[in-house]
Symmetry: C2
Subunit: 325 residues, 2 copies
């Protein structure tokens, strides 16, 4: 089942079910007005949403033509946005880039940070860059949207709380990160609003690509129409989503609609490229002595997509321009 949120003039938009091929949608207001409302009462709402989805996919319901520019992020605002950093190849490269040592617990204790969740960008919303010197970068990753997770859940029991899967552009302002992290309290100003794909899907929609708490498919990243990277999200992910969930819920419960991110996808195989600019810059520096690829600038175009084995987009693409304001 594929779900999305239609812009309707309200803050939280209108929940819709999207046909598997992404061409049409059906309004779900008779089941739940918003995606958050659906997640808040999932046991009650899931059957109705699945019924709509099946009728739409079977052609028994005509649906309305879908233009992704009509869509918000699946959750235009969320109660928690917890981003992990499960691809340690990424952690090692970006820490090397800013001259910081990875922590000694890197391979046993997941890195996560609490992100701002009050404003989440839609798939075609501009990336606003008030100050180019901030060094804007994209970070392409997979995220899961949760049901209510009790405090203290173990990783072995956590996968059942994954309601939806989608992709995210976790925007970073690279040049604000070193001074901010030096203060000791983690990211804040260096992490502006993140952007999300048009569509979030239930795990069953992913077939056997969703296994071991990971999504085993490459994420396709293009900048200005040129391939930038296609790292596989299932490769080199050292902590699975259930492990990230257990880490996040160690000392508190998580409410329905909480979003957990994988961190920037990164493979040790350098031939697949990168899912953020900082990594490519570090590799350039290692190979040639200096970074070459600039951070994002006004007018740049970014595209992040993931396709199933038949080449069909699963979540719809994130397609963003960098704008002034």
């Amino acid at each position: 089942m594929k779900l999305a949120t239609l812009r309707d003039g309200t803050r939280d938009g209108a929940l819709v079910v999207v046909r598997r091929d992404g061409t049409t949608f059906a309004r779900a207001h008779d089941v739940a007005r918003t995606l958050q409302a659906a997640l808040d009462a999932w046991e009650a709402t899931e059957p109705g949403l699945r019924a709509l989805s099946e009728r739409l996919d079977a052609g028994k319901l005509e649906g309305e033509p879908l233009d992704v520019r009509q869509l918000h992020a699946p959750l235009p605002r969320a109660y928690e946005w917890v981003d992990g950093s499960a691809y340690l190849n990424h952690v090692r490269l970006v820490r090397k880039a800013r001259g910081a040592e990875p922590p000694p617990t890197l391979e046993t204790d997941p890195l996560v940070y609490q992100g701002g969740s009050g404003v989440l960008l839609g798939p075609t919303d501009d990336l606003i860059l008030p100050e180019p010197a901030w060094g804007m970068d994209f970070e392409s990753e997979i995220v899961v949207v949760l049901g209510d997770v009790p405090q203290g859940i173990r990783a072995a029991d956590a996968s059942r709380y994954v309601r939806l899967v989608t992709q995210c552009n976790d925007v970073s302002l690279r040049n604000l990160i070193p001074p901010e992290l030096a203060k000791g309290f983690g990211f804040f100003q260096s992490k502006p609003a993140s952007a999300f794909s048009p569509v979030a899907v239930t795990p069953d929609e992913l077939g056997d690509s969703w296994r071991d708490g990971k999504l085993h498919l490459p994420l396709l990243v293009e900048v200005n129409g040129v391939a930038f990277g296609r790292p596989d999200a299932g490769t080199d992910m050292v902590f699975s989503f259930p492990q990230l969930i257990a880490h996040a819920a160690k000392t508190r419960s998580l409410c329905a609609g909480s979003i957990i991110g994988s961190g920037t996808i990164s493979n040790q195989d350098r031939s697949v490229g990168s899912a953020c600019i900082a990594e490519r810059r570090m590799l350039e520096q290692l190979e040639t002595g200096a970074p070459k690829t600039p951070f994002l600038k006004f007018g740049d175009r970014l595209r992040i997509d993931m396709q199933d084995r038949e080449g069909r987009s699963i979540f719809g693409a994130i397609e963003q321009h960098v704008g002034r304001r």
Copy 2:
């Protein structure tokens, strides 16, 4: 005007207006179902809420008797919880306690961290401590609840976005902090759910105690019925709320209902005591060579209150027990 959220079996509770003396309340469902809904459309909802409030205060509306145990936090979940650390006396003492240097920008660049906001505790909810060795501490502070704040707002223009003021217990697990901060991404597991006072008030309710973007009144903290501290929230607050808001909105907008905290209130005058245990322990260590006061343990009772100059509770007290689960 005083607002609160009644437990009614739903996640977000029911918005009520509370009489100034805290004895009765009136249901506000004809104006807005929840506090978040009221904040989402403040221009439209504020007049109706104020009309209810005036009738209740004037005795033209009878109201229902208020028992604070019926109340959630004013926002049982919020889209952002951004906690500052504006009392540098606190920062210096707790960093000394864990052998960490304050950052060189301490006096010019506010410290803030992004807190978990999906589960916020009500004023009488138990503090659950699964593992006493985690070192549970309370941190007593003042918070503001915002309207929609545009990205890039200057401090001089930020006070107009303060919709409500209330008090908070920003719970910390002290023994989890040093290893977590050493990882470089800030607080996460060391910050379980925060608790809030029964009532949030509009700034006009505070009279001239609310000036210069600060609340000039002492916060009264008791542990197990014994006075623990009464630091003045207007004294030694180095960054005002408008300055904290401007800092938080530098690179992103903040949505209505975002909560900004002052950080633990702390005065240089040691005779007023402390608003958290860690500070008292550090002062004990400086004076006698060793900390004496233990962190919270099962059965401990905590009370945090703030009174106006006539001795009336403004927000109602936070009264929590430490429980096992």
